[in-house]
């Protein structure tokens, strides 16, 4: 099945840009994570991104899924599946890191009840790395319009 070119090409450009950003983030997080595993003393964050081996791997997977949707350029409607999955994964990870930041905030609150001083550090550094500044949280928001457009396209193309 083919999808109309005018609508699909805009989606592909958006997806390729998002996919490339995810790939860059994924490579940086994964490489730093791998380096940290073997050389914990000399390890350092790349591009100020979190040192996260599996998180980086997951970002790479999302990036690859977005790029897998590039075949939509030729009008292949099946490629919409890759864009859908990439958006779902992007939202899952964005939500996950956001929940982790919230959990860090709750932990700080519990610590305050126990007599410790309240700080806002959990917002910018914590279990999810740079807290609310974790790029995957913001990329999930950026991927929402793409997800909406993909669903709209599937409806227009009468995908059941």
């Amino acid at each position: 099945m083919k999808v109309s070119r005018s609508s699909s090409r805009a989606l592909v450009v958006y997806a390729v840009i998002l996919g490339s950003i995810y790939l860059i983030i994924g490579v940086a997080e994964f490489t730093a994570g791998l380096w940290y595993l073997f050389q914990p003393e000399n390890a350092a964050a790349i591009l100020n991104l979190p040192v996260d081996l599996f998180g980086g791997f997951s970002a790479l997977v999302i990036g690859a899924a977005y790029l897998g949707g590039a075949f939509l350029w030729k009008g292949k409607i099946e490629s919409l599946g890759f864009l859908l999955i990439a958006t779902i994964l992007s939202i899952v990870f964005g939500l996950l890191y956001f929940l982790i930041v919230c959990a860090d905030g709750f932990s700080t609150l519990i610590a305050m009840w126990e007599g410790e001083e309240w700080t806002w550090e959990w917002l910018t550094s914590g279990t999810a790395g740079p807290g609310i500044l974790r790029p995957e949280i913001w990329l999930a928001l950026i991927s929402l319009p793409l997800g909406y457009s993909v669903i709209k396209t599937t409806r227009r193309e009468k995908v059941q």
Partner: protein
């Protein structure tokens, strides 16, 4: 009989039947339906989820998300329970005048049971995530994707569902092997199923990992699940090569994939509750009983002067028993308390944490005096691999109807656990940890 059919048809009867069934369906459909077959959203999603190259990486990424959700998001709730039990312990020590009764309530019931109950949040979170994956229809796809690898490595594709169930509890996992027709494939799946990390092991990983692995804690827990899968596949491959009974190729795997569905909050919460409540029941029965026994063994012979202090525990029955076990575990860097915890973990894996709690090692600080990063990881691996719990052994016997296979599972598990833990300690030492 099945071999004869296979010879005649050139492939397995099940595969042939499925092929024919779909042939008939595709002959009928064009006669009753006009136009092109409509594309569904499930078809679109399957393009990516079942993709030859992306299918497995997507599965791994989702699994990682599940573990971070289980481990990191539930953490403050566990902290809350811990604080409540800590306060209860303080109150009971202060207000109960009888020293032995105070020790029983504070060190035994609250210290031991409390150490286990703090894992209610991660266990419920794990089941919540698993229910979403199951209700959405993704888990069936995961089975399909993993089958390609499993078949190459000598495991039957149908083994994936029992293995997956094993992540919840090994007992339903082993019982689910009844769906495997070929007896050899079924027994092989039963033998490796205990290597799937059941939810009872999760408290041990979270407990040890949280204390000694620091920022590696989530990665440590995640790696235990993959160590289990890796070892299960490796052992299946080895058994198929070495044990004549298992020689030959596994039979083919046919699975009809359900349509994707949006999981509802109600059904997800119901599934989570149904599975999670088993942990609560266990805590109120077996774990409570074990807590009382372990406390009694650690408190007697009673020495009032050193009440609650370590010397009293060292001189107790459990201390004496632990020192007998210690030489076996010393090469792995485990002291007598770790050895005793592993011994009692034979009854149920949660009791490992319970034992540490009763022995006064309920906190991260205390645990860091017993384990280093490497020995902590080795302890987690040992807990994953060694003898499954008593109930699992019972079910292995019932399902195989053979003491030979039951004893074999226990012995190979112990040897493999020792080898894997030794390897972790050796590699960790080489890497300078």
């Amino acid at each position: 009989m099945s071999e004869k059919i296979k010879e005649l048809l050139g492939e397995e009867a099940e595969v042939k039947l499925a092929e024919k069934r779909y042939e008939v369906i595709s002959e009928i459909l064009p006669k009753v339906l006009k136009g092109e077959r409509p594309l569904t959203r499930s078809d679109l999603l399957d393009k990516a989820f079942l993709n030859k190259y992306l299918g497995i990486p997507i599965f791994l990424a989702l699994w990682w998300a599940l573990f971070r959700f289980t481990f990191d998001v539930s953490a403050p709730l566990s902290d809350l329970i811990d604080i409540v039990f800590g306060k209860l312990g303080e109150i009971s020590s202060t207000y109960i005048p009888n020293e032995q009764l105070a020790s029983f309530v504070a060190d035994g019931l609250i210290g031991g049971l409390g150490a286990v109950l703090v894992f209610i949040p991660p266990i419920f979170f794990l089941f919540f995530g698993l229910s979403i994956l199951e209700d959405s229809g993704y888990l069936a796809r995961a089975a399909f994707v993993v089958d390609r690898v499993m078949y190459k490595l000598g495991l039957h594709g149908k083994s994936f569902i029992p293995m997956l169930l094993g992540f919840g509890c090994n007992i339903p996992g082993i019982m689910a092997t009844r769906t495997i027709d070929k007896e050899e494939d079924r027994i092989l799946t039963i033998l490796v199923n205990p290597l799937m990390s059941c939810s009872a092991r999760l408290p041990v990983y979270v407990f040890i990992g949280g204390a000694v692995l620091g920022e590696y804690a989530a990665a440590g827990v995640y790696s235990m699940y993959f160590l289990g899968i890796g070892l299960a596949v490796l052992m299946a491959l080895l058994f198929r090569k070495v044990i004549p009974y298992f020689k030959g190729k596994p039979s083919a795997f046919i699975l009809e994939l359900p349509m994707y569905a949006m999981p509802t909050l109600r059904s997800t919460l119901t599934h989570m509750w149904e599975r999670g409540v088993l942990f609560l029941k266990k805590a109120g029965t077996i774990i409570l009983l074990a807590t009382i026994v372990i406390w009694a063994l650690s408190a007697y012979p009673w020495e009032p002067v050193h009440a609650g202090s370590e010397p009293r525990i060292e001189a107790s029955y459990i201390g004496a028993f632990g020192h007998i076990l210690e030489p076996i575990f010393r090469p792995l860097g485990f002291d007598w308390r770790a050895a005793v915890a592993l011994f009692f973990g034979f009854v149920a894996k949660e009791i490992v944490v319970d034992t540490f709690g009763v022995l006064g090692l309920g906190g991260a600080e205390e645990l860091r005096q017993v384990f280093t990063l490497v020995t902590g990881l080795a302890f987690m691996a040992f807990t994953l691999i060694y003898i499954p719990c008593l109930a699992t052994i019972g079910i292995i016997y019932r399902e195989t109807n053979s003491w030979k296979w039951t004893i074999f599972t226990v012995i190979y598990g112990l040897i493999l656990a020792y080898l894997a833990a030794s390897l972790i300690v050796a590699v960790g030492g080489l890497l300078g940890y």
